[in-house]
Amino acid sequence: MTAKEISNSNLTDEELIRKFQEGDLYAYDLIVRRYKDQLLNFAYRFLGNLEESEDVVQETFLRLYRNRHAYKQIAKFSTWIYTIAGNLAKTELRKRKRRKLVSISDMGFEEKEFEIEDEGANTERLTDSVLKEKIIQDAIEKLPFRFKQVIILRDIQELSYEDISSILRIPLGTVKSRVNRARLKLQSLLGDIVEKN
């Protein structure tokens, strides 16, 4: 770690972005290191694919680089970067939906046979925690997008209601009610896991 990196490491996100706006690339590097894992987990819970999620995270940081002067100190930096990453994840989901539609409609009549994975046979091979994670991930993916957004930000990323409200640009009350409804939906989707806990 260089002297400059050490001096930057105690700075807040807002101070770092200000330095970056003034041309300090060490500050940018530190922001990337601070946020890359957080954002990876955030994107992963939307997409369920680590490679695609890494791509979203990289694109988020490139957008941050490109639009560094668009950030104004009035907003919290974390909410700003989560907004960028969230929008990119949403775009990726949309693209995926389109790809799926195309690939299914591209198939001929003969080919439209799907092999459904025998989950029962796989269960034994999966460790308990991996299986549990898969079930939870599947349940999250089944949620409508507006519920998925809030529950990932609140119960996985553990952001405050106020921050979620500014990331999604919706009123605080709406965030709270969506979180409750998402939890309620997950209760029914996660049946057994909830009972065991």
Binding site: L40, Y44, E54, F61, E133, Q187
Partner: protein, 217 residues
């Protein structure tokens, strides 16, 4: 599952560990009596716990390498666009739109000014350059009284016309000059770096002009 509406807010605050002590007392009392609400709280807490206990992933070992490469390209791209554009186009910024319009207007005015004939005919009744489309035709009028004092403007004019000719039909030599009283031609030099103007007199004998009629481009 039905939850008692009047306790919904307290329940959510309770799940989020953000409940007032007085409200907590009230809620505990209620939950002791209401199975539905107690079950809802327990299940919601279990959901929250399951989500927060999900494994946290770290970026892969190739993340930094790939990202550095992408960033390097981004920086390179930014430098190129900074060189090619003195300012960034931003069509969403209302302040910049009038400035861009003014800039575009200035470019048009300068363009019109440059495209004006640079030849000055000694004959005031004649236009300096015959044919408005001198850029796209093969002939340019050279005044009969062309003298060495006009070489500078001849250079400019030829430069523009010859380049245009090259672009239009890919011919690289023998560009002709004609006027009412005199004619001539321009030839490309063997090294392809310059063209040389020849002016013929009325009996059409080519006359090699002075060195300063060589046009560089």
């Amino acid at each position: 599952m039905a939850v008692c509406y009047q306790f919904l807010k307290h329940i959510n605050d309770y799940i989020d560990n953000d409940i007032d002590p007085t409200e907590l007392k009230l809620l505990n009392k209620h939950m002791a009596e209401c199975d539905e609400c107690r079950l809802y709280v327990e299940r919601s807490k279990a959901v929250k716990l399951s989500l927060s206990a999900l494994p946290r992933y770290k970026t892969s070992s190739s993340f930094d390498i790939v990202f550095k490469e992408r960033l390097r390209n981004e920086i390179k791209q930014e430098k190129i666009s900074r060189w090619s554009l003195p300012f960034q186009f931003n069509f969403t910024n209302p302040v910049r739109i009038p400035a861009m319009a003014a800039g575009a207007f200035a470019i048009v005015v300068i363009g019109l000014f440059i495209s004006q004939p640079l030849f000055v005919s000694n004959d005031s009744r004649q236009p300096a350059v015959a044919g408005q489309d001198a850029f796209s035709t093969e002939s340019i009028v050279v005044p009969a009284s062309q003298s060495t004092t006009n070489d500078q403007s001849l250079k400019m004019r030829n430069y523009v016309n010859v380049r245009e000719q090259f672009h239009l039909d890919g011919q690289y030599s023998n560009y002709s000059i004609q006027s009412n009283n005199a004619s001539g031609r321009i030839e490309r030099s063997s090294d392809n770096d310059s063209i040389r103007a020849f002016q013929s007199n009325t009996n059409d004998k080519p006359l090699i002009r002075q060195a300063n009629s060589t046009v560089h481009f």
